[in-house]
């Protein structure tokens, strides 16, 4: 196993510097590598780097990619937990690399990093997101109204009605929830928590008039009833959405037909 070392001088020049008053520490990133152009087998590879523990896991991945091994491949864009690009399994838990600080994940031990589970790995930490987005599209994630005349001004909505679905509007479609779900791992046909969260966002929006249709879609054999309430999704959500609660509310709406 290769263990290249990054020296401090390079690290200090990094575009996202840490803080002058905190000491650098040495950490090991143990990364699950896979590149079918090179080998059909996935392998673990260790990298050692000197890093400020207040930096993000994403900063560590960048240090590796930029200074040690340019072939390391992952998605990222915003670097502050807003775009949903970099969900990955860090020490066995789904997290965003850009929202996870090194100091918070026991850096004295090797930090394991692998692709999220249940979607096909295409290269290193990059997975095929298509099935995930397909499930999202299947719940009709857009406002549906039946009024024949478009109102000229905005539709009115009380602050309480707006608050009712606030939690599920925060979703950034990172897939951390869906790919932490044991039901999804066993059966990729299951809609998964993220799609249900996005259905919830419209079912409970007072302006929307297609709640019944969405509920029917989720009443399907691959719908909400598959959920076994393991709470993995809620733990994984980087936006702090109460995913399990949203799923429970959709289940209840299916029984009572009230929402």
């Amino acid at each position: 196993m290769a263990t290249p070392v990054l020296d401090k001088a390079d690290a200090a020049g990094s575009p996202e510097p840490g803080f002058a008053d905190s000491p650098y520490i040495t950490v090991t990133f143990r990364i699950r590598r896979f590149n079918p152009e090179v080998s059909a087998e996935a392998t673990w590879e260790d990298f050692q780097l000197e890093i400020d523990p207040k930096e993000r896991v994403l900063d560590g991945l960048h240090k590796i990619k930029w200074d040690l091994d340019g072939t390391l491949t992952f998605r990222r864009s915003c670097a502050h937990g807003i775009c949903g690009s970099d969900a990955m399994r860090i020490n066995g838990k789904n997290r965003l690399a850009c929202k996870t600080l090194i100091k918070d994940i026991s850096p004295e031990k090797p930090i394991t990093i692998e692709a999220i589970k249940g979607l096909t790995v295409l290269k290193d930490l990059v997975v095929d997101m298509e099935p995930f987005f397909q499930a999202y599209r299947d719940v009709m994630p857009f406002l549906i109204t039946k009024d024949t005349n478009e109102p000229t001004r905005e539709r009115l909505q009380s602050a309480e009605d707006r608050e009712r679905f606030d939690d599920t509007t925060k979703c950034i479609l990172c897939a951390a929830c869906t790919t932490s779900c044991p039901v999804f791992w066993n059966d990729g046909q299951y809609f998964g928590p993220a799609a249900i969260v996005n259905a919830h966002r419209f079912i409970f929006d007072s302006r929307d008039e297609a709640g019944e249709q969405r509920l029917e879609i989720l009443n399907d054999r691959d719908g909400v009833w598959r959920c076994r309430t393991t709470f993995n999704c809620t733990d994984a959500c980087p936006r702090g959405i109460e995913v399990t609660k949203a799923i429970a509310e959709v289940k209840r709406a299916l029984i009572t037909r009230r929402y």
């Binding site: 020049g13 990094s14 575009p15 996202e16 510097p17 803080f19 002058a20 590149n35 079918p36 152009e37 090179v38 207040k54 990619k65 930029w66 200074d67 091994d69 340019g70 072939t71 491949t73 992952f74 998605r75 864009s77 915003c78 670097a79 502050h80 937990g81 807003i82 775009c83 949903g84 690009s85 929202k99 600080l101 295409l122 290269k123 990059v126 997101m129 599209r137 009709m140 994630p141 857009f142 406002l143 109102p151 001004r153 905005e154 539709r155 009115l156 909505q157 009380s158 602050a159 707006r162 679905f165 606030d166 509007t169 925060k170 979703c171 950034i172 479609l173 929006d205 302006r207 929307d208």
Partner: protein, 584 residues
């Protein structure tokens, strides 16, 4: 290589690209090419709000909004365009609400509005509540809502396709757009998209700075693609430095924080903005606040052991207000700084934020080949474009507005054009430039590293062409950029594969940043005045006699192959408002 044929091709799926796509898809066969999945676009990072004189909470009208936009832009704004922006703002907010955007609401159920820098009642009398918002997640809600509506309309996306070249064919002496060349990340395959109309909506170019609010992927690919094909870039010296980035990281803390009552303080706890902007105080326009912060720092009143930042103080605001109105940015402070904003002030510094300049267009989004001639079939909208509604300094909340108003306009104009126009013949070997570029990078055995050159570029930009500039510092930047461009020829990458080769694409993106950094620095050197975001310590005043004009930068290639930036100028469109001194 694959060849595709569409009526309309849109490059980019941020706010501008998707707003355009919703219109274009209804009217023409449309493809959207985007290097990121649409919902990863940086529009999602926008926090504070979108301006429109809805007058839901107090008296307001579009004429006041136009005036503020013109004044905020230090009179370099094209006033006809600003008027369109302010007038169409109202419908564009209402459009979004009807598409489902969950705006915050007033007690009577209408869209709520809040204060934002530079927006005033009656031509500067007092701050006005004009920003429509959804907590501090307005951009996220816009991006999600537009994506939802693209799903509804069945918009065809090509995700993780990088557009790397613009195809232009001369027909009867007129340059016309023939299509674009794209690189597919998953496979490394080259695709030619022949299209009657192309719309660039590929966003900003902030990554040539080190401390920036911009995403890693904002590398000015669209600007670079058209510039390399001989088309001009307008006003590239004007870049906005937002006053409140998280210290050293650059992550943005919205101006909405000051709109809610947040106060900037120096190391003595003094509310220093009172000195610099007696009326608008902390809500003066961004360039004014950023310069004030650096003045405090330079004069020894900065905070921390190195005196290199100031504080954004929210501690006097009730925690419930912070939770309701600023949940995300308070969480950023907790996550990245370990600071509790209820009780502790947040260390901040100005952060490179927004490109006022870009691809010149008219108000229909048509791209200009010079001061007056349009390039038939070529359009641009959003941060990549320069209409110019932002002039020398953009007002907060006017960009989310810009992407909606001009994204929609460009989408309609391009689709209507492609309904009647014919396909333009592709140039011979349309893929050649991209193939050459990629093969050179893949086979290079040079000893330069992408990350190292990018670091040096970012450091020189931060040090020399940021909030304060002088002839000396800009010249230093110009020389450094020239050196880096030379060294870039020897850049080598480690990943030689075809599959998801982000190593290769980072090298391509660096090439774009270097080209655009050069244009910015050369344009800044020639502008011997101070205006908006461009502040020259050696020429501290605005000079309307010599510089009330837009910069137009062209790439020139000499007989010996040397590249230079040639500058020309374009008049500013003035209608109602005569330039006045800008006071806040």
């Amino acid at each position: 290589m694959k060849i595709h044929k569409y009526d309309t091709v849109i490059v980019g799926a941020g706010g501008a690209g998707m707003r355009a796509a919703i219109e274009a898809t209804k009217r023409s066969r449309t493809a959207v090419l985007t290097k990121l999945y649409p919902t990863r676009s940086h529009t999602g990072a926008a926090q504070g709000g979108m301006a429109a004189a809805l007058a839901n909470v107090e008296e307001d009208n579009w004429e006041w909004h136009t005036f503020d936009t013109v004044k905020g832009g230090d009179y370099l704004v094209d006033q006809d365009a600003a008027e369109i922006l302010a007038k169409e703002a109202i419908d564009s907010v209402l459009d979004l609400e009807k598409m489902g955007l969950p705006f915050n609401r007033t007690p009577n159920g209408t869209i709520d509005q809040r204060r934002f820098g530079g927006h005033s009642r009656n031509h500067g009398e007092a701050p006005v509540r004009r920003s429509c918002y959804a907590a501090d997640r307005t951009g996220h809600m816009i991006l999600q809502t537009l994506y939802q509506n693209c799903v509804k309309e069945g918009v065809e996306f090509f995700n993780e396709f990088y557009v790397l070249d613009q195809l232009i064919t001369e027909v009867g002496g007129v340059k016309r757009s023939a299509g674009v060349v794209a690189y597919e990340l998953a496979t490394g395959e080259i695709h030619i998209f022949q299209a009657k109309a192309v719309i660039y909506a590929s966003g900003g170019t902030g990554k040539f700075f080190k401390v920036t609010s911009n995403a890693h992927t904002l590398t000015g690919d669209g600007q670079a693609a058209v510039y390399r094909r001989g088309l001009p870039l307008e006003d590239m010296e004007f870049f906005q430095f937002h006053p409140t980035g998280i210290w050293r990281m650059g992550i943005l803390l919205t101006e909405g924080a000051r709109g809610e009552g947040g106060i900037l303080r120096n190391k003595d706890g003094e509310r220093f903005m009172e000195k610099y902007a007696p009326v608008m105080k902390d809500l003066a326009s961004r360039d004014v606040v950023s310069r004030s912060i650096y003045t405090e720092i330079r004069e020894g009143r900065g905070c921390g052991p190195e005196g290199d930042h100031v504080f954004l103080d929210l501690t006097h605001l009730p925690p419930e207000q912070l939770d309701a109105k600023l949940p995300d940015i308070t969480e950023f402070a907790r996550t990245y700084l370990g600071i509790e904003p209820y009780t502790d002030p947040i260390p901040i510094q100005p952060t490179a934020h927004y490109a006022m300049g870009g691809i010149p267009t008219n108000v229909q989004g048509e791209v200009l080949a010079d001061n007056t001639t349009v390039v038939p079939g070529l359009y641009a909208a959003g941060e990549v474009a320069c209409v110019s509604v932002h002039g020398a300094n953009r007002l907060g909340t006017n960009s989310l507005l810009d992407i909606n108003v001009f994204g929609k306009r460009a989408g309609i104009a391009a689709a209507e054009y492609s309904q009647t126009a014919d396909f333009v013949e592709l140039p011979e070997n349309p893929e050649s430039l991209v193939v050459e570029q990629i093969e050179r990078l893949r086979s290079s055995t040079g000893n330069e590293r992408v990350a190292e050159l990018r670091r040096e570029l970012q450091e020189t930009m931060d040090a020399n062409v940021m909030v304060f500039r002088t002839e000396q510092t800009i010249k230093t930047a110009v020389e450094k950029i020239a050196e880096l461009r030379e060294r870039y020829k020897n850049v080598a990458i480690q990943d030689k594969g075809k599959r998801f080769n982000t190593d290769l694409l980072e090298a391509v993106e660096l090439g774009n940043l270097l080209d655009l950094a050069e244009v910015m620095a050369v344009s800044a050197l020639a502008r011997k005045e101070s205006r908006g975001g461009h502040y020259r310590e050696d020429y501290p005043n605005r000079d309307d006699v010599n510089f009330m004009r837009h910069t137009m930068a062209y790439r020139e290639v000499g007989a010996d192959g040397t590249e230079t930036v040639r500058l020309d100028y374009k008049p500013v469109v003035q209608t109602r408002y005569q330039p006045m001194e800008r006071k806040y």
